[in-house]
């Protein structure tokens, strides 16, 4: 099962956009039951009622910038676009471990409170902040992808095993449970002044626009769009200023490190669960599992960086440089850094534990030998 990590790398990179500067967005459900997120209110043709009222908060102001925030040297025009690699991370190890071929189900987040109902006066609740930041929705996207990658390729398991796996995935990767774990872990990091400053930023129009884009990027099926976009960049490369801003955004949010730590947490969870299910004498000690997680992290870091660079270009393609610049500035403030660091810890811890629990349940429901058989290519029939 650890072989599936190669696939998970791409998931994590794609889903973990910088989470520090995200805001309310519009969300509605159409007649077919599809959930749509957008940075614009639903139009009549959308034929659905808005679930979130996300009017701009006219009184919200971005925190004052520090002098150092404006000191970045003017980037020179550059044709030095980093070589774009395809986002598919299929390695020999991941043969037969690709996501199921059926159309991915759209994910839905239940119980998201209407943003318009959030109090603008008085202390901001943690749930409100996370809602503003789009954490709930993006977490759903992440879990959806994790579930897809833990699922065996279609047709390789017996119907009974497949059903058991689906049951485990539905129960162990329950969005509300894991969101609660993230929130509880985040709560331990709370710093009131920074929380309020972050909330104020998240209520700005530009932040809300950004969160809309990030949520859209966390939707299942976005990989192909990113790949198409990557292909288009060869003919139409981004400006040096845009690249500089994105690199800086990655720096101030530490998003790449979050992705790498998340990969390590997933590796740790999978190794731990698989090891515990194996024979007693071949089980790994916690220290050995840590070593493996560190190795996976080290191997993944560079790949993640490349994947992430492309994802960021895609996600923020409609954003003006000035808007992106605002995002960078906020992320570099004390409040921005606090939010990034706190979210990093909360997310890595909660997702890691969830993956371990899910993997434990999966190998309990379907023994390891049957998983191993499922990943072995079927023999050719001999005529």
């Amino acid at each position: 099962m650890t072989d599936r990590l190669a696939v998970l790398l791409s998931i994590v990179a794609l889903v973990l956009m910088p989470t520090s500067g995200v805001a309310e967005t519009y969300r509605w459900i159409d007649e077919q039951g599809n959930v749509t997120y957008s940075d614009r209110p639903p139009q009549p043709k959308d034929n659905g009622a808005p679930a979130l009222d996300a009017k701009p908060a006219p009184d919200a102001r971005a925190p004052e910038l520090k002098a150092s925030d404006t000191k970045a040297p003017e980037p020179k025009p550059s044709a030095a676009l980093p070589e774009m690699k395809t986002l598919e991370l299929k390695t020999p190890e991941s043969k037969g471990l690709t996501a199921p071929t059926q159309t991915p189900k759209r994910f839905e987040v239940k119980g998201a409170p209407p943003a318009g109902a959030m109090p603008r006066i008085g202390p901001t609740k943690i749930d409100d902040l996370l809602e503003l930041a789009g954490v709930r929705v993006q977490l759903a996207g992440l879990l959806h992808r994790v579930a897809a990658d833990l699922r065996p390729p279609p047709g390789q398991m017996s119907p009974a095993d497949q059903a058991a796996i689906e049951r485990v995935l539905a129960q162990s990767l329950r969005h509300e449970t894991i969101y609660a774990a993230v929130r509880d872990a985040f709560r331990l990091q709370v710093d009131r002044p920074n929380l309020e400053a972050a909330a104020a930023w998240l209520r700005t129009p530009v932040a809300r626009k950004i969160v809309g884009l990030e949520i859209a990027s966390s939707e299942p099926g976005v990989e192909q769009k990113v790949a198409d976009y990557a292909a288009s960049l060869k003919a139409n490369p981004p400006s040096a200023r845009r690249l500089e801003l994105l690199q800086r955004l990655d720096w101030v949010t530490g998003a790449n490190e979050t992705s790498a730590d998340l990969v390590a947490a997933i590796a740790r969870g999978l190794s731990s669960a698989v090891s515990a299910a194996g024979p007693q004498d071949s089980r790994l000690r916690p220290g050995q599992i840590e070593d493996r997680a560190a190795q996976v992290r080290a191997r993944a870091t560079e790949t993640l960086r490349e994947v992430r660079a492309m994802s960021m270009l895609y996600t923020y393609q409609t954003l003006q440089d000035e808007e992106l610049s605002e995002y960078v500035r906020f992320s570099g403030t004390d409040a921005g850094r606090w939010f990034s660091i706190s979210m990093h810890k909360a997310l890595v811890g909660a997702v890691g534990r969830a993956v371990e629990q899910t993997a434990t349940e999966l190998v309990r429901a379907v023994p390891l030998e049957r998983w191993a058989r499922a990943t072995t290519p079927a023999r050719q029939a001999v005529k």
């Binding site: 925030d69 530490g254 000690r285 916690p286 570099g332």
Partner: protein
């Protein structure tokens, strides 16, 4: 140091090969032979715990078989079960008091546990078994005859080598050198130090050959400070801290360089416990415990031996570090922390213990405490670039950005001289300079640039 673990391993193999399968007419003897054969196979296969178990069974089934008892004693010695080894060597000796091989084994065992006088008595007994003329030649013949004599009578060379170890371990290097010269173990005019350095540079041969070459250099050339120092450091790295300490002291004493004298004094202080001597038995228990943990994955056995080593030598820092490593390996970081804190109390100048403690505290995000210990690390050993990078990371985590930059730059500059460019740190510093602090902590790689310093 003629009897490192490998030598014992060879001796055990020989004992196992000579096991009494010839007396297999009786069923019991057959069973013993089978057990010893299986013990041999287990030992060859690196399954030492199983080999010891089989040797125990063999000795229990044949309590009057000197060979079975010796095999059990040898296996027990190899595994650090010294009480058991002592008991079974004694039982075997009672059955075959004049067996030269057994006498040699008991002598070397006595050296291993620091019972030097007992070892010398055994060596006298071994010598007494030789024919009179051989004894006479060994004791009175001029040096030029000794080389041939030792070649023709290997047991005599064993006697000399063990005596050399005893003398050096007792700190009487002058007498050891005289003994080595008088028995032609070293020859005057030969540059053993140059040979040893060449072997070390080439790096192609067996590690143990290089070690032996430095040992000869130490015995032959009292002024070869570099080689004596190297020998001491090698011994320290391998865990032979008692002799290592003596050699480092000697190398520091004879060096003409003030810088080297300072370096030697620091080495003694931060790696070898300063004035705290470690009893031989505690050192050997530590050494074998480390093998049982790292080589065999035998945590229970290793823990028992580490604990015994600590009991015998409470100020010896190394076993505390391994107890902490094992605790962390088992997922108990609080216990690891407690072991390291005990280690720091036991030896407040132990560079490695402060380093491990600082890094663990950093992992636990207890940054102010981590900073305190990591500052101590770079104070104790300012060339520790990995420790300095760990300190830089902890400073950054606390928002002490200027201090971070200073420490990180110092480490990068130092590492550049060692051709260890740490590009990830340079990249981080460049971004920090350009954009100010980011949300991620800086990388803190631990380049292994200094031989031996990572072996503790």
């Amino acid at each position: 140091m003629t009897i490192p673990l490998r030598t014992i391993a060879v001796a055990i193999m020989l004992s196992l090969c000579l096991a009494p399968v010839a007396t297999a007419q009786q069923r019991k003897a057959v069973a013993v032979g089978n057990d010893l054969d299986r013990a041999q196979a287990a030992f060859q296969g690196g399954r030492y715990a199983e080999a010891l178990a089989l040797a125990r069974r063999g000795a229990a089934q044949a309590p009057t078989s000197a060979r079975a008892l010796t095999v059990r004693a040898g296996m027990a010695e190899f595994m650090g079960e010294f009480e058991e080894a002592s008991t079974y060597y004694d039982r075997a000796s009672a059955l075959t008091p004049d067996d030269p091989e057994l006498i040699y084994r008991t002598a070397s065992f006595a050296v291993r546990v620091g019972e030097y006088d007992r070892a010398l008595t055994q060596l006298d007994r071994l010598l007494a078994l030789q024919p009179t003329h051989v004894r006479w030649l060994f004791q009175w013949a001029p040096t030029y005859l000794q080389a041939g004599l030792l070649r023709d009578h290997p047991s005599l060379e064993h006697i000399v080598q063990i005596k050399l170890d005893i003398l050096t371990e007792k700190g009487d290097l002058a007498q050891a050198r005289q003994l080595a010269r008088s028995y032609a173990i070293v020859r005057p005019g030969e540059n053993y130090c140059a040979e040893a350095q060449a072997k070390s540079r080439d790096g192609g041969g067996e590690r143990e050959d290089t070690f032996k070459a430095f040992r000869l250099a130490t015995l032959a050339q009292p002024d070869a400070a570099d080689c004596i120092w190297w020998y001491g450091q090698w011994l320290s790295d391998e865990g032979y801290v008692r002799l290592g300490r003596l050699m480092v002291i000697e190398g520091t004493r004879v060096t003409a360089s003030a810088g080297n004298k300072e370096s030697g004094a620091r080495y003694l202080r931060v790696r070898l416990g300063g004035k705290r001597e470690v009893p031989k038995r505690a050192e050997q228990l530590f050494l074998i415990a480390r093998q049982r943990y790292l080589r065999d994955g035998d945590i229970d056995g290793a823990v028992r031996l580490f604990d015994e080593s600590i009991r015998l030598s409470p100020a010896f820092a190394r076993p505390y570090n391994y107890r902490a490593t094992i605790a962390a390996d088992l997922g108990d970081r609080e216990a690891a922390l407690a072991w390291l804190q005990r280690g720091v109390q036991a030896d407040p100048d132990s560079w490695r213990t402060h380093r491990n403690l600082g890094k663990l505290l950093a992992e636990l995000e207890r940054y102010p405490e981590a900073e305190m210990h990591l500052r101590k690390v770079v104070e104790l050993f300012s060339d520790d670039a990995g420790g300095r990078l760990a300190l830089a990371r902890v400073l950054y985590a606390q928002g002490k950005y200027d201090d971070f930059a200073k420490e990180a730059r110092a480490a990068v500059a130092f590492l550049a001289n060692w051709k260890a460019p740490v590009p990830e740190v340079r990249d981080f510093l460049a971004k920090f300079d350009r954009w100010g602090p980011g949300a991620s902590l800086p990388p803190a790689p631990d380049p292994r640039i200094i031989i031996g310093w990572n072996y503790d």
